[in-house]
């Protein structure tokens, strides 16, 4: 099988700091890949390169078998790479189907000449995509502000799917959600992969990642240090790889992590998922 997305030798520097260093990764159709690493490991920078927010200094991106330059976020969206950020970018004052069609509204002719919004069409199409993804919301005519966090996320995901997303990237999808909602989102990720849409998920909630991802890519200090099939590993091993107490497979960068590793281990084990965005990525 051919990978849908392949990044090769991606390097991204911010001044003297190398946030992503010679990174390789493949994502295959229908696969859920967990991208793991401590704060500042370079995960967010990597996905921002893939989603067009940053341009890499070095390296190549192949999408659907072709080498692709992703110049900006709109370009990424156009070729089918959708990123679901925590803020979700929904208009809270608009209803569900209006958000799904925002910017790409379906119009119909009124009295033969004026183009007006075709609410019936947008409502019916939105219902279809929500049904396809087995998402339940109280009503598609309800404003987004009346929905729960998980429902909002489901709306954002359905919008991506309706507009033909080929690859979904999710940054901390469960961080702000309650227990039941987390479960719903994870189920949704499983549904997506069963419909052959691959998902790249970043999360500090190892438990969540283990329950949906089939493969895990672990980064440390901008480098990929290990890759594991979820079935063949344990959370202990992964935490060890993340914090550096277990040496990586590809790069031996484990030299001075001893002083921080205990703290880091506790950080991950307690699932205190609300991480701060790595400072270095903002720059």
């Amino acid at each position: 099988m051919k990978p849908l997305l392949e990044v090769r030798n991606i390097t991204k520097r911010f001044g003297g700091l190398t946030a992503v260093d010679n990174m390789d990764m493949k994502i295959f159709p229908g696969e859920v890949v967990g991208l793991l690493g401590d704060n500042g490991a370079g995960k967010s920078t990597l996905i921002k390169v893939i989603s067009g927010v940053y341009r890499a200094n070095k390296g190549k991106i192949f999408f659907a078998g072709k080498e692709t330059r992703i110049d900006n976020p709109m370009h990424a969206l156009k070729i089918g790479i959708e990123t679901i950020y925590q803020d979700l970018a929904l208009a809270e004052n608009l209803n569900v189907y209006s958000n799904i069609f925002l910017g790409r509204e379906k119009l119909k002719r009124f009295l033969g000449l004026i183009k007006i919004l075709d609410h019936d069409y947008m409502l019916a199409e939105s219902r279809k995509v929500l049904d396809q993804l087995e998402i339940e919301v109280p009503s598609l005519k309800k404003q987004i502000r009346t929905l729960s966090g998980g429902q909002r996320q489901a709306v954002a995901i359905s919008r991506s799917i309706y507009w033909d997303a080929k690859l979904l990237i999710m940054d901390e999808p469960t961080a702000a959600l309650g227990v039941v909602e987390q479960k719903n989102v994870l189920n949704l990720i499983k549904t997506l992969s069963s419909q052959d849409i691959p998902v790249l998920i970043i999360s500090h909630q190892l438990h969540d990642v283990f329950s949906v991802a089939s493969r895990l890519v672990i980064m440390r200090r901008g480098k990929k240090i290990a890759e594991r099939m979820t079935k063949e590993t344990t959370t202990d091993e992964i935490v060890g790889l993340i914090v550096g107490s277990i040496p990586g497979d590809y790069h031996d960068v484990n030299t001075d992590t001893a002083k921080g590793s205990d703290v880091n281990r506790r950080h991950f084990a307690s699932k205190s998922g609300k991480n701060h965005r790595p400072k270095q990525n903002q720059g």
Partner: protein, 356 residues
């Protein structure tokens, strides 16, 4: 028997419609305590007095929905009015026919009236100046230019055609005798002229045509939808591929277009161009939009609500005149209504939410 849930539901419906109920109470109050308050003449007076506020408030609704505000409209009325009057007077003095002079005056005022909106829009959208500051600056600039253009004195001696439009009515009706559009029926006796019933002022007709068109645009079209989306979340709008900057510029131009139209209507109604005209109507316009259900944080509001807001102020204004109460009391009343509107807005969500 009515149980508690039903009662609550009815209460929610009533509170949601509170502006309509408030308007109805006003009308009943003045009908009972005023003199001939519900006569056709008086009701048309309400429409006529409300015209300038209605136009300002319609443009303002678009701006407020995007989360901005346009303070420049107060003096835009004077600015475009003075331009309109000046062009008419100059062309008439040059011996050009009245119809050409009047239509040129209106056209020039409306076109030049777009300019302050364009500048407001560029400042807000491209240079990220807060709307309050950008339009407040324009408020002063428009006034200054209006005074320069008018040489500090009101412009009089407009073509007579102006008053026949501005003081004219859509329909003239003499029961069982005559029924004409726009023109007073010919060959009437003095008594018949006294009994002639004029229906709907021309100025109101002009205003309502534009208000209706833009109400349609806001409620039914993609442009309207994007206006709401920007008010809801600029990020979401941008991510959805909406050109937010260009959209905001258009919205500020709509507002200044309506302000210039209000200036033109002012000239038609009062047969003069004055620089300070309409400045006191700025407060009324903003209040009407807020009473009409728009949030100053953006994202909500409608032209229908704004129209009711305008009527609440107009009915009150004419009502106070009718009762012989000094009109400065209107400011107190309008201020109170504004605060009431904001309070209802704040507590309404709680009431509605409690139902779920």
């Amino acid at each position: 028997m009515m149980d508690k849930a039903d009662f609550r539901e009815i209460l929610v419906i009533l509170v949601k419609r509170w502006i309509l109920i408030f308007l109805a109470i006003e009308l009943v109050f003045f009908a009972v305590f005023g003199t001939n308050y519900l006569s056709l003449r008086n009701l048309q007076n309400i429409l006529l007095t409300s015209t300038v506020v209605l136009l300002l408030a319609t443009g303002q609704t678009f701006v407020i929905i995007t989360g901005g505000i346009d303070l420049s409209v107060g003096f835009m009325v004077g600015f475009s009015g003075v331009i309109c009057a000046k062009v008419m007077v100059s062309l008439q003095a040059a011996g050009i026919s009245q119809s050409v002079a009047v239509s040129s005056g209106i056209a020039v005022a409306l076109i030049l009236g777009l300019l302050p909106g364009l500048i407001n829009g560029l400042l807000v959208a491209r240079l990220r100046v807060p709307p309050f500051i950008a339009t407040f600056g324009m408020y002063g600039i428009a006034y200054g230019f209006a005074e320069i253009i008018s040489n500090n004195v009101p412009i009089h001696n407009l073509p007579t055609l102006v008053s026949s439009i501005g003081h004219g009515y859509l329909i003239y009706w003499l029961p069982e005798k005559a029924f004409t559009f726009f023109k007073i029926p010919e060959n009437l006796t003095r008594l018949e002229l006294q009994n002639l019933v004029p229906i709907v002022p021309n100025v109101t007709v002009i205003a309502f045509i534009f208000v209706a068109i833009f109400a349609f645009i806001l409620a039914k079209t993609r442009f309207g939808q994007h206006t709401y989306a920007i008010g809801g979340s600029v990020d979401a709008a941008e991510r959805a591929g909406i050109n937010v900057k260009r959209h905001l510029i258009k919205v500020y131009m709509i507002s200044s277009f309506f302000a210039s139209l209000a200036g033109v209507c002012y000239v038609l109604m009062f047969i003069t161009g004055r620089a300070p005209a309409g400045s006191a109507r700025l407060l009324d316009a903003v209040v009407a939009v807020v009473i009409g259900g728009a949030s100053l944080y953006g994202g909500t509001g409608s032209i229908g609500g704004t129209i009711i807001g305008v009527l609440i102020i107009g009915v009150l204004q004419i009502g106070l005149v009718n009762l012989g109460v000094p009109t400065y009391n209107l400011y107190i009343a309008v201020g109170c209504i504004l605060i009431l509107a904001v309070l209802v807005d704040q507590f309404l969500p709680k009431l509605v939410h409690g139902k779920d």
